[in-house]
Structures are given as C-alpha cells and as structure tokens.
Symmetry: C2
Subunit: 307 residues, 2 copies
C-alpha cells in the first residue's frame, strides 16, 4: 500500500477576514501528503523546492512518515510562492502574487524505489509534468488520479487532454467541470468529461460538498457545515489526499469503496479549513478524525424502509 | 393524520431557457397540497381565488383527495398572478409581474372541521394572515411549520417575529437565513434563528440541498443532481409539502423522523422541477416516488466501520 504524489511544495501567504499569515508552508503535495499520512499509507512526494525552504518544514513531513526523497532542492533557486486574499464570503479570493521560481523548470524525477506505486496522485501542475511522472513508472499504478484547474485548460488544453487519456479519476471543481465540458448541468458535464478518459469523476463544490460520478452511479458527500471557515487554502488538496490515501490503503477500487474514500477526504478537509495553512491537519489525531467521521455519518445517513 | 395548509392558490406564467408557459396553475398551497396528497395524508387548503379561476384546477385538487372547502372564491375578484423569467443558470430569476388581486384583502377562514389539525403548514404569506389561521384553531397542532421570504422580513419584521414565537419549524432559504440572523455562516445563523422561537430550522439551498438544524443536531439532504432543471417554480413548496405531509402521516416528531421527512420533501421536489408548474407532481405515481427514494439512499448512504 503506497501512494506516490507529484505536486507543489511551496510557501503561501494568506489574508482572510480573520487575519493574515506569515509566509507559511503550503503546496498541493504538502496537503495531500499530510492527509494521506493520517491514514498510515506509505506516501512519497515528488516535488521541487529552493534553497530558501526551511529544514523544519521538511522535518514536519518526515516526522509524519512521508518519504521526501523525491523532493529536489535547488540551492540557488527560490521556492514557489503564492499569496492570496479571501473575500468575506470565503468562497472567492484574489491572487496577490504568484512566483513560480523553481517550479518554472521543474523536471520531476521519480526515485527508483517509487516506480511501482499502488496509487498515483497527480496534483495540480502543468500536464506535461504530470505526464512525465506517469512515464517514469515501471508499472501502471492500480489507480491514477489527476487534479487540474482552469489555468491549464486555458493554456495547455491539448497537453491536458493527452494526459487525461491515461487517468482513472479526475478531480476538478464545478466551474472547471462546466468549462471543460461546455455544459452547465453537472450531470451532463460529467458524461462528457468521462468520455475524455477518466472513468470516474469527482466534482468539488467547496462548501457545497462533492459529487462522485462513475458510469451511471452518483454519490454525494456534503461538506461539514462549520461555524467558521478560517482559511480554505489546501482544502481541495487535503480532500484529494484523503481520497487517494484511503484507496491506496484499502486497495479496493469499487464504487462503494470510493464512497468511503470521498467521505474520508471530506472529513480531513473539514479540519484543514479550521486554521491557517497546514496548522490543523499537521496536529490532527486519529481520534479526532474518527469522531468527525461519525459526525459525517449522522449528517447524511437516514433509514427509510420501502415496500 | 391531517395537514392543514394555508397559502396561495394562484396563476403562474413562467419563462425558462426551455420555453414559456401559459397562465398555469401555481401557488404555494397548491404545490404543498399536491405533494402531501402523494403521502395519503388528509390535507385541507385555506386560500382565496378569484372568479377567473377555472373549475378544472379545483377538480385536479379534489381528484387528489385534497379538501378545498377552505378555499374562498371571490367571484368579482381576480386570482393572484405571478410571472417570472429564469436566467440560464436556473438559480436566479426576474419577476415580470406580481398582481396580488384577491390576496390583497385575504381574510383566511378555517372551516369548522379543520380546527384541530395534526400539523399546520403556514405557507409563505403575510405574517398576520399566518397568525390569523393559528388563532382560529381550537387546539394547538402537534407541529406548526412556517415558510416565509425576504419580502416579509423587509416589510413586516415585527409581525413576523411575533408569529415566529408560536412556530416549531421554520423553512427559509440560505440568503434569507443570513438576512434574518445577520450571520454569514449558516451554522451561526441557525443558532440565532432558533432563539427566535422555532426549535427546528430548515435552510433550503436549492440545487445545493437542504440543512435541518435542531439543538445541536444537523442533517443534510442533497438535491438530486439532474440533467436538466426544466422549471424550479414550486420546488420549495413541494419540499415543504413532502416534509409536512410525511410528519402528519407518521405523527412522529423526532429528529430521526424529520430526517426521513426532509428526504421525502427532497425526492418530491426533484420531480416538480422536471416539467412546468404542477405538471409533473400532478401525474406522479407512488412507484416513481419509491424509486426516487431509493436513488436518494444510494446517493448519500455509505458504510464506514470505526473501532
């Protein structure tokens, strides 16, 4: 049971109505790895950082049991940096700064002992980087999951379509699903997108939960209604980490098990938004996670006996 | 097991991206009654219509077993009329016409045999009209449910707060919950609203489902993901009719039974949006409803065993 993750390991600086963070640990691979580490899955990250990246952040990952041998450090370079400000409703944000830095010429290298992962999670990156990782593997993983965003649809549509053909599960948000399919209805969108390669589609709707589509099956996982969303940054990646980590751990790729995986992803994401950046997911205990899974049960499960 | 409903019986004229309707049967009480009639609940409507209201519409209600003795007909008056146009996303609409007509001086009269209903559903109307119905009853119903909207919050806040004190369940949409509580977070909003009288709150989120709050309990019912929403008019009232009708039928007001009631409401509402106005709910069969309840089960239920 192993999960290979490619994605950013980065600095984030975040403003929300609740306050402003320093330059803190962020990045898709970071959140994905921290989430999957909660599920006792052997997790390896493939990423790139600059000489400015502090050892304590790497130690945090290592302490969680995450294999960072695939994180390349370019001493003379600077780490990818993103700064953003969330609006009062926490559902929209302005990007204040995006400094690609070492990400600009990222050539991912999969370590020798990571060439046969059970599950591959391709975090939101240039589709050619995602493809390069897939091509370095010695065996096709049992499951390949890809996350992407509108930026890559706008700039690298053909490359994205090419890599999508080799993907089992695509995760995108509702607006991106509409953009990709040119359909407003998410049901219609899902059908068109599943013709592009992925047999399974997850549409993330933020505070409105997530939809899982496969063939004619649909499953809906709500987001936990919260008193306050303190910082949404990383919620989608935490969700992806919980989903991919649970599947890598259980090695069961049935629709019913994907339902469980999506609930694990939702439960983990509900912690990430409680504090800035990785603060909450990094301190999370197994007991807290189990308690929250019970909350999700009572939030959605009902019994109706029909004749 | 009986449900008394007060609300509009009206004409609607609707434009959607899919087409334009004639002046068709509409009104909150109409949809509520049609929904509850699917659950074999004795249902009585209190409303007012004009001399222009066709007998065939009344026959439709009577054929469904709905008691229309509380619908006053003012021969020289005209029936309440609403016209609206939905935008392409079907989530927002422009009101093209609102003609109150006989509704302007509506004095609801509860028929003698309807003064001890099991459940009372106060449809969206002036809070003084809602209060007048409550005051005519000889016994307090086991459950009083009230629906309202931003219009009454803007114009008749004090009267609304007064009637709310005697209500068990309030149903409003998410924007109205925020307006009523002055809180953006729906969890915070629910706490403030439940201090105004109703011990139970339902927040309707349209295509994003509905939340049920009571004490510290929360339950979430999704809306069914549909290929097309043909006409959303009446969906909220159908939902309220399913919810109130199910509770009147089962006479069980526990939180667990309210969960079932909200799923019945969601399932019924998912039919209403498939055609113009009442067309779909009026032709609905019990078998179709049961099939859709099964769909809701598979849409949300999952099993996770925790230690």
């Amino acid at each position: 049971m192993s999960l290979l993750v490619v994605g950013t390991v980065a600095f984030d600086q975040i403003e929300t109505p609740f306050g402003k963070s320093d330059k803190i640990l962020g990045g898709a691979a970071t959140f994905i790895g921290l989430a999957s580490s909660m599920l006792d899955v052997r997790t390896g990250l493939v990423s790139v950082i600059g000489g400015d990246f502090p050892q304590e952040h790497l130690d945090l990952l290592t302490d969680k049991g995450i294999d960072i041998s695939g994180i390349e450090k370019i001493e003379e370079g600077k780490t990818f940096f993103w700064a953003g400000r969330y609006h009062n409703d926490m559902n929209s944000r302005d990007t204040l700064a995006t400094e690609l830095n070492v990400l600009e010429n990222f050539n991912p290298v999969v370590p020798a002992e990571w060439k046969k992962p059970e599950v591959l999670m391709l975090g939101n990156l240039h589709p050619l980087v995602q493809k390069a990782v897939l091509e370095q593997l010695e065996e096709r993983p049992k499951l390949v999951i890809l996350d992407t965003m509108n930026f890559w649809m706008d700039l690298t549509w053909d490359e994205l379509m090419d890599v999508l053909k080799n993907v089992d599960v695509l995760t995108i948000n509702d607006e991106e699903a509409r953009q990709m399919s040119k359909e407003y209805s998410l049901v219609k969108a899902s059908k068109k997108i599943m013709e592009l390669g992925p047999k399974t589609l997850i549409i993330k709707k933020g505070e409105h939960g997530a939809l899982l589509f496969q063939d004619k099956n649909v499953f809906f996982a709500p987001a936990l209604p919260l008193e306050d969303v303190f910082d949404p940054t990383g919620a989608g990646d935490t969700f992806a980490g919980g989903f991919s980590g649970y599947l890598a751990k259980t090695r069961n790729y049935s629709f019913d098990n994907m339902k469980r995986a999506i609930i694990y992803g939702s439960a983990l994401a509900s912690f990430t938004v409680e504090k800035f950046g990785t603060d909450r997911i990094a301190e999370l205990t197994e007991e807290e996670l189990n308690d929250r899974l019970e909350v999700f049960k009572s939030l959605t499960n009902f019994d109706i006996e029909l004749d």
